[in-house]
């Protein structure tokens, strides 16, 4: 019989990783809502966030806050470059959606290969944002990095909500998501809004990568697992729903962590896919997805 405190610890740790999946999942939703595209290069933003921060910390010796402040916009620029040079030309030529999705997958692989050639294939990590810890809360231990993950994730979701609801650009991105022609007819530069959505999504991925690297590691190939988990989180929550992706991420992270404790590490992926299938069977539009949407 497994001790309850071990399960509880797994739930806490799983929720921490799940918050990261949630951020990646929200990244998928931001792009999907604005363009209708599933960007399979989403995981690569997580990898780049961690790798760039590591490089800025170690090679240039920059303080953490400066490294983070440089890495996030840089990854945002990568997102804009992908939109500008890959997605936009394909949209203009009315390429089929599956072709655009495949193109983003190709971008993911390309960036991974470039990362191996320039930064090597060894895993990298950097120190936690706050030294010391963990906090003891009864039978469970909560690392300071987990608190950082929690605070940053919740803060980001709140900021994104405010951005999309109350800012001119946020409303314009939402408008483009609903009817691009109507948006353009009101003077909204649709192409620029699509670039904004890629930049935002890439920045979210980068933040996820920076937050998770101290407690795990980063390497050229972490993009795929985080990308897949974030994608599952978005589907579980209801594809297109940012709050759904957030909840989906936590559900997924907790399910994986508990499955590892109960059944062993090999069952991590089985647990993720079981959650996906179960949710799709019971809630075909996801946990928080709109039932009436096509």
């Amino acid at each position: 019989m497994i001790d309850t405190s071990i399960i509880l610890q797994a739930v806490i740790d799983g929720a921490g990783v799940g918050l990261i999946y949630g951020l990646v999942g929200i990244g998928y939703c931001v792009i999907y809502n604005a363009t209708g595209i599933v960007n399979f290069a989403q995981g690569v933003f997580v990898m780049l966030g961690g790798m760039l921060t590591y490089t800025l910390l170690t090679s240039l010796g920059l303080p953490m806050i400066v490294a983070v402040a440089i890495a996030i916009p840089l990854v945002g620029v990568v997102g804009v470059v992908i939109e500008w040079f890959i997605v936009k030309p394909m949209l203009v030529r009315n390429s089929p959606m599956f072709a655009i999705i495949l193109a983003t997958l190709a971008v993911q692989i390309m960036i991974e290969r470039i990362t191996i050639m320039t930064a090597g294939d060894q895993p990298r990590t950097f120190h936690e944002f706050t030294a010391g810890g963990p906090l003891r809360l009864g039978p469970v231990a909560v690392g300071y990095q987990l608190i950082w993950v929690l605070v940053c994730s919740v803060g980001l979701v709140l900021l994104l909500t405010l951005f999309f609801k109350y800012t001119r650009i946020g409303n314009a991105v939402r408008a483009c998501a609903q009817n691009r022609d109507a948006a353009a007819l009101l003077g909204i530069p649709v192409a620029r809004m699509l670039a904004v959505s890629f930049a935002l999504s890439a920045a979210l991925g980068a933040i996820a990568g920076i937050l998770i690297t101290p407690s795990q590691y980063t390497a050229f190939n972490v993009g795929v697992p985080f990308g897949v988990s974030g994608f599952i989180a978005a589907i579980v929550g209801g594809f297109g729903s940012a709050s759904g992706a957030f909840v989906g991420g936590i559900v997924l992270g907790v399910a994986q962590a508990v499955a590892i404790i109960i059944f062993g590490a090999g069952y991590k992926t089985v647990a993720a896919l079981a959650v996906l299938l179960l949710v799709l069977l019971l809630f075909p539009s996801g946990l928080l997805g709109k039932r009436s949407e096509k």
Binding site: A172, A175, N179, D181, A182, A184, L185, L186, V190
Partner: protein, 247 residues
């Protein structure tokens, strides 16, 4: 919605507000709009009539660069044929789409505010006040989701939102579509008011009697081609427009 003296007649010597020459558009291999000429002078309300599939919607979408088109489009004498849709809106040409093109999950207020995307905060407040004067019902529905409005209210919102962009030329694609006759008449009455205030309007309509009550000139389009142009004096006396609908 700038205040100008309404024109009573077309002035041939003045440069048209909108002039299109040889505008054509294709969907795939099919040429839906054959080379078309059309002009609209400042303060005019011109209607484009024609049966279903005549190419009316393609015409206005081609003007706004929502479909690939060839030919010349001039606005206030300037060639705007190569501008992007959002730049045309900034120049003062705004189209109210067939089906209204509202952002359904957004509130009336959010839709209205997006209409003034390029405006300053002060301009936004001024324009909102004018829109509410024209369509008081929108003010009552401000926080309601636009998808939940009635058809007539949605059309008012679509026109109101377009007016928030402070157009010099308003294009409307079938604004009476799907509306009860009384509501359609109300919408067209509002358009008449706007035109009297000096706004140039290009009205695409299938319901000829409604449109001809307002229009100063009319173009009849069938099978992607202008087959008849009716001048100011001819509209009231012309009774054979129906033949183009059934020919």
């Amino acid at each position: 919605m700038t205040e100008t003296t309404p024109m009573t007649e077309k002035t041939p010597s003045a440069a048209p507000l909108l002039e299109i020459r040889g505008l054509s558009a294709t969907y795939g291999q099919v040429r839906v709009l054959k080379p078309t000429n059309l002009s609209l002078f400042e303060g005019e309300l011109v209607t484009v009539l024609g049966p279903n599939g005549a190419g009316k919607t393609t015409l206005v979408r081609a003007i706004m660069r929502l479909v690939k088109a060839q030919g010349e489009v001039r606005f206030k004498g300037e060639d705007v044929g190569r501008l992007a849709t959002h730049d045309l809106a900034k120049r003062g040409i705004v189209l109210v789409l067939e089906g209204r093109g509202l952002f359904g999950s957004m509130t009336v207020q959010e839709n209205i505010n997006l209409g003034a995307y390029t405006a300053t905060r002060v301009e936004l407040q001024e324009r909102r006040a004018r829109i509410f004067e024209l369509f008081p019902r929108l003010k009552e529905r401000l926080h309601q989701q636009s998808a939940s409005l009635s058809g007539g209210e949605q059309q008012m919102l679509a026109i109101g939102r377009a007016l928030m962009a402070d157009p010099k030329l308003l294009l409307l694609d079938e604004p009476s579509l799907g509306l009860a006759p009384r509501v359609a008449a109300e919408i067209l009455r509002a358009l008449g008011q706007l035109n009297k205030a000096g706004l140039g309007i290009l009205l695409v309509e299938q319901k000829a009697p409604l449109a001809l009550k307002l229009a100063r000139r009319a173009y009849v389009l069938t099978l992607g081609r202008v087959v008849k142009e009716l001048e100011a004096g001819e509209i009231g006396s012309h009774h054979d427009i129906a033949q183009y609908y059934f020919s």
